[in-house]
């Protein structure tokens, strides 16, 4: 039976068209601002030479390389008569000179050296920065920004304590002391996990709602329900449809994710960086760096990210399944689903900010996908719980499964005409 | 006068109808053919839903495609399956269709109660159609076909879903209407047309086989229909030995009918052919299924 249901999906070319459209859209996101990221290979060279771990040896080596290159820099403008230690000092005093007298190759070499130095300096300062990091202070600022108070404030501060402990452990592990693309310059983490993550989540949502609604409503919209639901399988046919939905949706979403990631990783080279901890200081884009609740490598984080994306899509499938049973019309299902999403995103903004209820309101499957770049991390005060993602998915899976059973129960007792 | 002039309809390589030539004057025409023979294709061409690949259909000498809305203005059509809005009442639904048919609101408001009375739906005129039975919906369909007092009335399986009394009433209605218009109804139920049709059109192998009055059709088999009774236990032997066209039970015995050029033996007695015999003879036993 499931096979026949799947054929209905495969035979609708619209899903393939949509999939291609979404992949193209993600391609645009990936290529957007690619020019600003053309110096990424500088890091690749560093990593190839010194490894990803920052240690004294690597720092000494880098300093030596800078010193060596500075000899060349200092010869660029014999008239200046000064000896510069670092390329940025030279650049600062020679803005006009650079573009008038240097060839493109020289310029490129100079800027790459400058960037190299930036990696060096940042690496050198990592320990100092982390010794001053204060998770509680970060939480306080955020609490002030969003105006939390009372019970909610207390809870968040408790969680900040937990984060503080994790921070200490992180420092002990040396997770922060790893080279990675400079987050403050390139914002690669945001590009991959926030922009693309969010895009995939919404695109997947559209695919999932349409595929699930197609299958569940098929007999109603093609007026075949008298035949279909009076066969031996009867109304339990809907369970087959759900099973087929799972298969079709997992395939569609995985295709979308896979195609997007393949484009991403072929444009931006991560081959040497797969095992760098995601909490590396270099990955940070804001003054308060990303801190994952566990010691996760980039690769592990990507896997968890994909898993979480996929599971959230299955939640949408379950909701669509129940909506379809009640509404029996794909148009209504689609827009009612949109309504659910909107309400889920809006409700947290009307709840009072002084009780834990505000935090509970954020445990919803639509808020979940708004900030995929801080999944499994303590960087958002509303989701500052190690198992926030797991709890959200599990809780709503239970709710939606119960809703599904209830809908089926009602459906079986419903007159069809 | 409606003339179907050597019309063929192809869908790519598939032949739906081949070289159909027909002429209709006022009166009732029964289009008799099993499902899939091309009945609906012919009807759809008559109502301009689809266009002939070859040939043309003319009304009073003019191609109906060129006549366009002038032709459709004269048309009443009841499709096999037709759309209605569940949340509309029959009155509102007919009002909507009268707008499509270009009937003035004033005229429509007079006509609609009359028509609904004619099909026996006056009591539910203002009830939503959501809960209507198949037969009631079908009667709404008949009413809408008559809205514009059509000169050409085309009915595709009009009696589907009607009970025997409703059928009888419907047949009576058609005979009343037939004076000054062309009525073409397709059916595979012989009794629907047997008593009322002026002519029967039979389609076979994608083209017209016969277009004759019932009497003439029956004459084709005149003297060739035989009937006999047999016990149940002999039935199987009969079926094997003779090409029976129909069988029915009567007084605990089986009555067999079949076509033969000569009387096989004295137990078989010659009977008058009926339209059903012709139908069954032409299309074989499966046709009535």
């Amino acid at each position: 039976m499931i096979k026949y249901e799947l054929i209905k999906v495969v035979k609708s070319p619209i899903f393939i068209i949509l999939l291609l459209f979404f992949v193209a859209l993600n391609g645009l996101i990936i290529f957007d601002h690619k020019n600003e990221r053309e110096n990424l290979p500088v890091l690749q060279n560093i990593v190839e030479q010194y490894g990803t771990k920052i240690d004294d040896e690597a720092l000494a080596g880098m300093k030596k390389e800078i010193d060596h290159e500075m000899v060349w820099v200092n010869e660029l403008n014999p008239k200046s008569g000064k000896q510069y230690q670092f390329p940025y000092e030279f650049i600062k005093g020679h803005e006009a000179f650079l573009y008038q007298h240097l060839t493109d190759r020289e310029l490129n070499r100079l800027f790459n050296l400058n960037l190299f130095t930036q990696y060096y300096e940042t690496a050198k300062s990592v320990d100092d920065i982390y010794s001053e990091l204060d998770a509680t202070e970060f939480a306080r600022q955020q609490i002030k920004k969003y105006g939390l108070s009372g019970e909610a404030e207390e809870t968040v501060l408790n969680q900040a304590n937990l984060l503080e402990k994790r921070l200490q452990q992180l420092v002990k592990n040396g997770e922060h002391r790893h080279f990675f693309y400079l987050g403050s310059v390139y914002e690669m983490h945001s590009l991959l996990f926030k922009k693309l993550g969010r895009a995939i989540a919404f695109e997947g949502m559209i695919l999932v709602v349409l595929i699930t609604a197609l299958l569940t409503n098929y007999e109603f919209e093609h007026r075949t329900f008298f035949v279909a639901f009076t066969s031996k399988r009867g109304r339990n046919l809907l369970w087959d449809k759900l099973a087929a939905s799972v298969i079709a949706n997992v395939c569609a979403v995985m295709l979308l994710i896979a195609a997007t990631l393949i484009i991403y990783f072929s444009v931006y080279d991560y081959s040497n960086l797969l095992f760098v901890p995601i909490s590396s200081y270099f990955n940070s884009e804001t003054p308060f760096p990303y801190i994952s609740w566990w010691n996760l490598s980039f690769l592990q984080y990507v896997c968890l990210f994909v898993g979480c994306l996929l599971l959230s899509q299955l939640l949408y499938m379950l909701l669509t399944f129940s909506l379809s049973i009640w509404l029996k019309n794909s148009y209504l299902v689609f827009f009612t689903f949109a309504l659910f999403a909107g309400v889920s995103l809006w409700l947290p903004s009307v709840v009072s900010l002084n009780s834990n209820f505000i935090l509970i309101m954020h445990v919803n499957p639509f808020y979940l996908i708004m900030n995929p770049h801080v999944w499994f991390m303590g960087n958002n005060i509303f989701t500052m719980f190690p198992y926030f993602e797991a709890v959200t998915i599990a809780a709503w899976a239970v709710i939606f499964i119960l809703l599904g059973f209830f809908s089926m129960y009602k459906f079986k007792r419903q007159p069809l005409n | 006068m409606l003339i179907v002039d050597h019309v063929s309809k192809y869908y790519g390589n598939f032949i739906a109808l081949e070289n159909v030539h027909l002429q209709f004057d006022n009166g009732i025409y029964g289009l008799l053919a099993p499902n899939g023979a091309g009945k609906t294709t012919l009807m759809k061409m008559l109502v301009t839903l689809i266009f002939p690949t070859k040939g043309e259909i003319r009304y009073n000498g003019e191609n109906i495609i060129h006549l366009g809305s002038k032709y459709r203005e004269l048309l009443g059509y009841l499709p096999q399956q037709f759309g209605y809005y569940k949340h509309y009442t029959p009155a509102k639904y007919l009002l909507y269709l009268s707008a499509l048919k270009g009937i003035s609101k004033h005229e429509a408001k007079e006509k609609i109660p009359e028509l609904l009375k004619l099909v026996g739906l006056e009591d539910v005129m203002h009830k939503k159609m959501r809960k209507f039975s198949g037969g009631m919906i079908q009667r709404v369909g008949i009413a809408q076909a008559l809205l514009n007092d059509p000169k050409i009335l085309i009915l595709d399986e009009p009696t589907a879903g009607l009970d025997p009394t409703e059928r009888a009433r419907f047949r009576k209605l058609l005979t009343q209407l037939a004076n000054n218009r062309i009525i073409i109804l397709s059916t595979h139920i012989v009794s629907d047309v047997e008593s009322i049709a002026n002519e029967i059109i039979m389609i076979k192998d994608k083209t017209i086989l016969y277009k004759k009055p019932i009497r003439e059709l029956c004459q084709l088999l005149s003297g060739r229909i035989y009937e006999t009774a047999a016990d149940f236990q002999d039935a199987e032997i009969f079926r094997k030995r003779f090409a029976t066209i129909s069988e029915k039970q009567e007084n605990g015995q089986m009555i067999f009918r079949f076509v033969s050029d000569e009387q096989p033996n004295e137990n078989w007695k010659s009977v008058e052919p009926t339209l059903e015999d012709v139908f069954l003879h032409v299309y074989g036993e499966g046709a009535l299924a």
């Binding site: 309504l339 | 759809k44 499509l100």
Partner: protein, 377 residues
């Protein structure tokens, strides 16, 4: 006419209207209410808003060199106010801060200074210090007008900036924050309009197809002209929805109190955008409204087309998703948002409009011709 009205009425199904109402409400709450509730957004934006309004009273729509001198005097007066305030503060005396100039150049890495600064500006919220910031911003912008020409690489753009500089309009006291606020609101509101229009018009044909109504409708006198009538009904519905949405928008927008700026030129020294045409704010608003109607109609044309050819709702919604996404993207970027700003090549904006109108019209005309020719099985 009656058929048209019936079709129009069929489009406004109560369930659909209810959905649109809820979706609009959520859209408003999630994307729009911020720009109504927080306008002007914080300080010194609020002060700039008040001061520019005051400037209109004092100088009229433009501020010429002479008036600018007056403005600088006005600034000086405010500075005196600040000085007086500082003198009245004991902490200031302790820290040795007696003038505004000193205050302005405080080394904020010094904790004592930073605390004092914080107290004055954020805790006490002494108005004058915010106002002075606003004054400084305006003076700086006035004195540096036209210097941002360097940031435009294209010759046409530079030419246009020069043209604006040569014109008295550049002295208009129209502030960027009024433009920015209108721009954000109107571009997001247009996305809402696109969604509402598509939600209503995409049902125009498909409900009849799913209801098996086509064979009946197309054999009536109206017959194959029904497509045109339905198209008209969909366009009327589009006009209606767009108008209602725009009226509601203005109901909220008037609350922002920007009416005083309507007659001002938006190519002002104090707007961060320059435009290809010499718009007053009013003129610009009318232009965006026209753009909104065009976008809405284009959306409707596509939606009617797909409504006729799609076999079911899934295909219909699936084919409209890319259209709504692309149309919304262009709307947000340059078709309604930042409309005719020289940031975007003039030909790109006009070209996109023309292409959109052309493609959607071709789709519809193609189908209209098909309607007369195709078999309806």
């Amino acid at each position: 006419m009656r058929v048209f009205l019936y079709e129009l009425r069929k489009l406004f199904n109560w369930k659909v209207l209810l959905l649109i109402l809820f979706i609009s409400f959520l859209f408003y709450k999630l994307f729009l209410s911020f720009y109504f509730e927080n306008f002007p957004n914080g300080r010194p934006a609020k002060d700039e808003f008040m001061i520019t309004k005051e400037m209109i009273n004092k100088y009229g729509h433009e501020m010429d060199e002479k008036e600018f001198q007056h403005f600088k005097n006005w600034y000086k007066q405010k500075k005196d106010e600040a000085n007086a305030y500082l003198k009245s503060q004991q902490d200031a005396e302790k820290l040795g801060i007696t003038t505004y100039e000193q205050f302005r150049q405080l080394d904020l890495t010094n904790k004592q200074y930073a605390d004092f600064h914080e107290k004055v500006v954020f805790v006490d919220q002494a108005d004058v210090f915010w106002e002075l910031q606003a004054f400084e911003n305006i003076i700086e912008q006035y004195e540096s007008k036209g210097r941002d020409i360097e940031s435009y690489t294209d010759e046409d753009q530079q030419e246009r900036v020069k043209q604006i500089m040569a014109n008295n309009d550049v002295n208009s006291v129209f502030p960027y924050l009024v433009y920015e606020n209108y721009n954000e609101l109107t571009r997001f509101w247009t996305v809402l309009i696109i969604i509402s229009v598509v939600m209503v018009t995409c049902r125009v044909h498909i409900t009849d197809r799913l209801n098996n109504a086509i064979s009946l409708q197309y054999t009536t006198k109206t017959g194959r002209n029904l497509f045109s009538l339905k198209l008209l009904a969909a366009l009327a519905a589009t006009a209606l929805i767009t108008t209602v949405q725009i009226v509601i928008f203005w109901f909220f927008y008037l609350g922002n109190g920007t009416q005083a700026f309507f007659p001002l030129s938006i190519n002002s020294f104090y707007n961060f955008y320059y435009f290809w045409f010499d718009f007053t704010f009013e003129g610009y608003i009318i232009t965006t409204v026209i753009a909104i109607y065009i976008v809405a109609i284009v959306a409707a044309l596509f939606s009617v087309f797909f409504s006729r050819i799609a076999q079911n709702y899934i295909t219909l919604i699936g084919s409209l998703v890319p259209i709504v996404v692309l149309l919304s993207y262009c709307t947000l970027k340059y078709l309604v948002g930042e409309l005719f700003a020289i940031l975007h090549p003039l030909m790109l904006t006009i070209g996109t409009f023309l292409v959109l109108i052309a493609i959607s019209t071709i789709f519809i005309i193609y189908r209209m011709k098909q309607e007369k020719l195709v078999d309806l099985i």
